[in-house]
């Protein structure tokens, strides 16, 4: 009895400690506000930034003499450049002395439809045709094909590396343990961050864009393949082994066929991740739709960015639907026994390929089938419509949007930001370390202290605090949405059926696209970045919470109901506490997503670290500062991830299953 009480005390006193820390912080903030806040002007550089810039210059100057570059990086760059250029020559760029690509629009539409038909079904094939034709109608055929070419190249390279590595990780525990933290890091790092270092190594051009895309797209390929291999029932593998299969036979005849469906899911995720990143790679001059959006964002041209954003969304939908249909087809084939009518299938495949070949030939030979007819221009209508809608919204919805903006800006964002940016840096260091110590333990506290010290050292203290404030505010909003909507759809099947597809769609969209309509509604402010981050991160959080609520054992809910609990009591005393693990996980994931998007928000007025990174791309003299800002983002991300991971571990330990 006494032991139990003693064990409980720290849990009970933790909230008091946190309140104490907060009170001390505010008291000291009032006493010391404005001191040691380490401000740094936009164009100002610290010696460190200058040194990083010089180091970057050294790399630039020695690119063709240093053996590592000469014999490794430059070959990698050359290979990827050639590969991407080749794919571009096929579908998007005039090539081989021709004024047009090898395959014109009609051929591309035909090929895409054939692939959709053969791997998916008629419905997605029609969707593919409609989607691809709409690229032309929007006046963005070439840009779309650039994006597609870059995406395809990155996906092929990612899968070529990711699937074998995934199989290895699935078979070998040691390799899996080795690769998992690396993948974690690759996925939690905001995409924005590694663009600049990559250009240093691979120059601006297709190679950097492709490698950046691969960094983002390989983790799902490896992870899901590994998971697919691991989920093959142990007994089935044993059955194969017990009959004397060789390791290769086990892989080819047992593991891979049983893992195929899940691996196709991995292919889908890889494609979606690649598309998302290819658009962001516009920041390092990757051609395609992303560049159109980026240029328009920079000039706050809502119409143009909406038009291009629409094309990206359409491409995302088409790619997602086709690969999802392919995954279902694998499953259907398994259930129905596809081998039953091989002849008929062969005739179908032959016919489809023949038609596609004819279309490709036509588009290769005739100009009308090669260049998308320019008369059919829907794009200008879309641009004008979006501009008008944005104007209308900004004037007529001003009361609402501005009210929301002011509420969150003055009620949440400004106080947060004021406390963080006006506190002396040593106070923030103390508060962060103490908080981490209370909620997560000594090791995490040490990590956090080092991270805060690094932020100071990187010379971007205030910008880091502004970004941190925006991230925390957006995360609070994400979790509010996540818990409310998550509990709702976790409890209500009908709501789940309606809302879940919306969330799924939201998750497949490239991050970039979210900025556009929100920019249209709210203009270029910090607030726009925060809302974009909320919109981007909320689906993940909502789904995780909903799944957690659904995962609560029916027996526990029934027992509570039988005891006469009200609905509110069931939610607050049974379901949410039992789903605590899922809620913490949602907070952790939400934080990751929010940080990534808040940084991208630097493009639309959020300023701070994201802006530093962007200006590092565009102005050579700020390159060192941009690189330092990238590092600061990584440090922030590491710190936040360390705390949320520790909370998750605690959540697991305290979960009702193992006993409080």
């Amino acid at each position: 009895m006494t032991a139990a009480v003693a064990a409980r005390r720290p849990v009970w006193s933790r909230p008091y400690l946190l309140v104490g820390i907060l009170a001390a912080w505010i008291a000291l903030w009032i006493a010391f506000r404005g001191q040691a806040t380490l401000p740094l002007d936009g164009a100002e550089l610290t010696p460190l930034h200058a040194r990083i810039g010089e180091a970057a210059d050294v790399v630039d100057n020695n690119r063709d003499s240093n053996p590592i570059f000469l014999y490794f990086f430059n070959y990698v760059r050359l290979f990827i450049d050639e590969f991407v250029t080749f794919v571009q020559a096929l579908i998007s760029r005039p090539s081989f002395g021709r004024p047009v690509p090898v395959v014109g629009w009609l051929g591309v539409v035909g090929l895409a439809a054939a692939v959709a038909l053969l791997y998916g079904n008629l419905r997605v094939a029609l969707l593919t045709v409609a989607g691809f034709v709409s690229f032309g109608l929007l006046g963005l055929w070439e840009e779309s094909m650039d994006t597609l070419a870059l995406t395809l190249a990155a996906v092929l390279l990612s899968l070529a590396a990711g699937i074998p590595l995934g199989i290895w990780a699935g078979l070998n525990d040691r390799f899996d343990r080795l690769v998992t933290p690396v993948l974690d890091f690759m996925q939690t790092m905001p995409t924005f961050v590694y663009l600049a270092p990559l250009t240093l190594v691979f120059l601006i051009g297709p190679a950097s864009a492709t490698v950046a895309t691969m960094i983002y797209a390989i983790p799902p390929a490896i992870r899901i393949t590994s998971h697919a291999i691991r989920q093959v029932p142990k007994e089935t593998v044993e059955a194969g082994a017990s009959l004397g299969s060789t390791p290769w036979q086990l892989l080819a005849k047992v593991r891979l066929p049983l893992a195929k469906r899940t691996i196709v899911v991995g292919v889908n995720q890889t494609i979606m991740a690649a598309l998302s990143m290819v658009t962001i790679a516009a920041l390092i001059d990757a051609p395609g739709l992303g560049k159109t959006v980026l240029k328009a964002l920079e000039t706050l041209d809502v119409g143009t960015s909406f038009n291009a954003g629409l094309a990206i969304v359409i491409m995302a939908i088409v790619l997602d639907r086709v690969t999802s249909a392919a995954g279902r087809r694998v499953e259907d084939a398994r259930r129905a026994g596809r081998a039953h009518r091989p002849l008929r299938r062969r005739i179908q495949v032959g016919a489809v390929l023949a038609v596609a070949a004819v279309l490709v030939y036509l588009s290769h030979v005739y100009v009308w089938a090669a260049e998308f007819p320019g008369e059919a221009d829907v794009g200008s209508f879309v641009r004008k419509g979006a501009d008008a809608a944005s104007q209308w919204a900004q004037t007529n919805l001003f009361a609402t949007t501005n009210g929301l903006k002011n509420l969150i800006t003055y009620g949440l964002l400004n106080p947060f930001e004021a406390v963080l940016t006006d506190s002396p840096w040593w106070l923030v260091l103390a508060v962060v370390t103490a908080t981490a110590l209370v909620v997560a333990g000594v090791r995490v506290a040490a990590v956090c202290a080092v991270c805060v010290a690094l932020l100071v050292a990187l010379g971007l203290w205030q910008d880091s605090m502004v970004t941190l404030a925006a991230t925390l505010v957006a995360t609070v909003l994400v979790m509010a949405l996540g818990i409310v909507i998550g509990v709702w759809i976790g409890r209500d099947d009908r709501a789940d059926r309606v809302i879940r597809p919306v969330l799924d769609a939201g998750q497949t969209m490239p991050a970039f696209v979210y900025l556009v309509p929100i920019l249209g509604l709210f203009g270029a402010t910090r607030f726009t970045a925060i809302i974009a981050a909320v919109v981007y991160a909320a689906p993940v959080a909502i789904k995780l919470v909903a799944d957690g609520i659904r995962g609560v054992s029916t027996a526990a809910v029934e027992a509570a109901t039988a005891a006469g609990s009200s609905t509110w009591q069931i939610i607050s005393r049974v379901q949410v506490p039992m789903a605590r693990g899922a809620v913490t996980l949602a907070a952790g994931q939400g934080l990751c997503y929010v940080l990534a998007m808040v940084v991208v928000g630097g493009l639309v007025g959020a300023g701070a670290l994201g802006y530093d990174v962007v200006s590092g791309f565009s102005q050579l003299q700020l390159r060192g500062k941009g690189l330092a800002a990238g590092l600061a983002i990584v440090v922030l991300g590491t710190m936040l991830a360390a705390i949320t991971k520790a909370l998750q571990r605690r959540g697991v330990r305290k979960s009702p299953v193992t006993g409080v």
């Binding site: 029932p233 007994e235 089935t236 593998v237 044993e238 059955a239 194969g240 082994a241 017990s242 009959l243 004397g244 299969s245 060789t246 036979q249 005849k253 047992v254 066929p257 049983l258 195929k260 398994r334 259930r335 026994g337 081998a339 039953h340």
Partner: protein
Amino acid sequence: MTATSPAELPKALTEAEESVTLDVRGLWKVFGPRADRVAGTPLAELSRAELRERTGCVAAVRDVSFAVRRGEVFVVMGLSGSGKSTLVRCLTRLVEPTAGEVLLDGVDIRKAGDKQLRELRRHRFAMVFQHFGLLPHRRVLDNIAYGLEIQGQKKDSRYARAGEMLDLVGLTGYGESYPDQLSGGMQQRVGLARALAVDPEVLFFDEPFSALDPLIRRDMQNEVIRLHHEVGKTMIFITHDLSEALKLGDRILVMRDGEIVQIGTPDEVVGAPADDYVREFVRDVSRSQVLTLRWIMRPPGDGDALDGPELGPDVVIKDAVRTVLHADRPVRVVADGELLGVVSSAEILEVIAD
């Protein structure tokens, strides 16, 4: 001779030594860090819990030795966690044993290299699994032919063999189906046919019927008995179900915490439990169904008339009830013309009332 110990060892056991197929000697399986330091050292004397506390290792199989005769159905019985599934996997090296010998016809399979082990698995033994372990993307016929396929047999010959096996397990006409179109019992028949297709000497069954409904389980048990009569394979059968063990087993090995508690024929296990654990286990077994007259006969007394009906010592009690109760004098238990003892209504009623 008392009623609680067997009158003499069953004959088969004594004359069996040459016909041993599978001989397991001092087998250990220890999971955990540096597992090989346990067997043959003072650590081996520790109990499971102590060992775990001391070394972090779990001994799933502890010093297990037994011999299985050709054509025998040898049942390993124990509750979950007793190590029986690990034991059977050690015998085929699906799980690598930590120490000991597994002799198949005198050759230690632990010494086989990868290639030899594959040959052994391809031709000498086969296994049937609890959850069937079928390949869902293959037709039933292709599942059955899997073992032949990986040996490199031609399509025609392996399909011919698979077709025969399909008929043997009573699934004629289902060759084109896919496993998930079949019921659990039918799926396990496919698993059985797959194992039989390679014509192994020894068949291992890892709780093959635990995942099935009781009625289907009974069908499948009868199926195994039938197949055993028809193909006469040596079978090693893992189960947690006592009645299944009693029904199928020529001999039963009772396991607890990785150790052997008792090895014996069904009537030995029921009639002379080795310890309280086994006694508790067999308490609810209807003894008249399992025990033979050997277990209840008594030496003829002075007043006994020795001209009653005659029965053998291995007649199960329930089959003798009618004869004994109808006779007005004790039934004589006779083997090879020698009078072993007598049984009268009193002994029979005592067992039945139990």
